[in-house]
């Protein structure tokens, strides 16, 4: 199936879930319409975590197999994950401002997302600072492994830290006791965005593969 066709399907799916989120799911009682942004916010966050999980898998795989493919997957997943993180970090304050009256709060989940974004930004920066492909792949993979291991530690440290300080009340864990129509909208939105994630990662992966073969050809031409 051509990727433009897949993209068209995903576009329709997102339009449908958007419609569902706005017109099918009921309006949340305490927050009102602004709660609708959560369908995008939370689904993007989940997709970003899936992307970084994929990156971690690719990093581990690279260290043990040394196949360039794993390296391509790692960088693709990290870049796309970072794009999703950006959406999360933009929609978070948009939601927080009307509800809490402040743009940013050091809530555990939001802060974790931020730190995660920083870690994977460093991962991409590191890649741009090592010339030789094999070294770049190996050392960025090792950094990626360390960074991913840090995720639960960051989360728990921030959670314990915040519970000692006053903070705005956040909605009960998403998914817990959700209205059925809301649940359907959440799940569909997440499904659609995961589709976007897969599409983007595979496109980025093909680009990286293409770059590698261009590099090969360029070097071949130089040798002759």
């Amino acid at each position: 199936m051509k990727s433009s066709f897949k993209a068209a399907i995903l576009f329709v799916l997102i339009a449908v879930t958007g419609y569902l989120a706005f017109y099918y799911a009921p309006i949340e009682r305490s927050m009102g319409v602004i709660q609708k942004i959560f369908y995008l916010h939370i689904s993007c966050a989940f997709s970003a975590f899936v992307a970084f999980g994929t990156c971690f898998y690719a990093n581990l795989r690279y260290v043990f197999t040394r196949e360039a493919k794993s390296d391509w997957l790692g960088v693709s997943a990290a870049e796309v994950g970072l794009a999703f993180i950006t959406v999360v970090l933009v929609t978070g304050p948009i939601w927080a401002h009307p509800v809490w009256g402040i743009w940013w709060t050091w809530d555990a989940r939001l802060t974790l997302t931020f730190v995660l974004g920083l870690l994977y930004l460093s991962y991409l920066l590191l890649r741009s600072m090592i010339e030789e492909p094999d070294k770049r792949a190996l050392f960025s993979a090792l950094f990626g492994i360390f960074a991913f291991l840090d995720v639960p530690l960051v989360y728990f440290s921030i959670r314990w830290w915040r519970t000692q300080h006053p903070q705005p009340v956040i909605l009960g864990g998403p998914g817990s006791g959700l209205e059925p129509r809301m649940r359907v909208s959440y799940l569909l939105m997440w499904g659609a965005l995961t589709g976007v994630l897969i599409l983007l990662v595979s496109a980025r992966y093909r680009l990286e593969a293409l770059r590698a073969s261009v590099e090969d050809l360029r070097r071949e031409a130089e040798v002759r």
Partner: protein, 224 residues
């Protein structure tokens, strides 16, 4: 245990070279001193304010100092290709890391303990009654800085702009260490000092997680 025997020999080498020149120790002490003094101009360092902000800026200055101090750790080994000589000689490459991170922890701890009285005087906080407890916090925190710091020093030694890369790789990852160490220090500097076993336990957990990761992946960090 071959690893421990090699580690002891290598630790002896690290300590001997450092105490012969004292380059790292002196520059780090001066760096922390400068930061601690400069920070005191950013707020009114009365006892109450210092208890609120002091621990955080103390740890922040330790973290920045460490990210500079750890820089030459593997770079030094590149000068004469001595890292290759070590790799050819040791029975388990983990001993190279174990020796280096022990030395780095010791250097950090030394400079921190040296700076504690200066901090106490400048910021008007009492440390005499809780000195040993503070050293315990400093030890667990410094270990948490030194373990990933030593690993990343091997990574940044391979990159361009390595002086900037190490802080960029290391500091976001150290978020949990910063939070836990700051909270534990704050509790000890309080008017009613408490030893926060939960944060100390958390720091110990952090140390164990990354020590295990280093044990598993250390040999790949040394590849050329």
């Amino acid at each position: 245990m071959a690893v421990l025997a090699d580690t002891t020999v290598l630790l002896g080498k690290e300590l001997r070279t450092e105490f012969r020149s004292r380059e790292l120790l002196t520059t780090t002490v001066v760096f922390i001193l400068v930061v601690v003094v400069l920070f005191s101009f950013t707020f009114d360092p009365s006892a109450g304010e210092s208890r609120r902000f002091g621990p955080g800026l103390l740890w922040l200055s330790f973290l920045f100092a460490a990210s500079l101090m750890l820089q030459p750790c593997f770079l030094r080994e590149q000068n004469n290709d001595t890292l290759s000589a070590l790799r050819l000689s040791v029975r388990d490459p983990f001993s190279i890391f174990l020796a280096k991170l022990s030395a780095n922890t010791l250097f950090l701890l030394l400079t921190e303990v040296l700076m504690l009285p200066v901090f106490a005087i400048l910021y008007n906080v009492h440390i005499l009654g809780v000195f040993l407890q503070l050293v315990l916090v400093l030890f667990l925190g410094s270990l948490g800085v030194a373990i990933p710091g030593t690993a990343f020093s091997a990574i940044s030694a391979q990159a361009r702009m390595r002086e900037l890369m190490l802080p960029l790789l290391l500091l976001p990852l150290l978020t949990p260490v910063l939070i836990a160490s700051t909270e534990a220090t704050r509790a000890l500097l309080d008017a009613n000092p408490v030893l926060r076993a939960d944060w100390l336990g958390f720091l110990a957990g952090f140390d164990v997680v990354f020590l295990t990761a280093l044990w598993l992946f250390g040999e790949y960090l040394l590849e050329e």
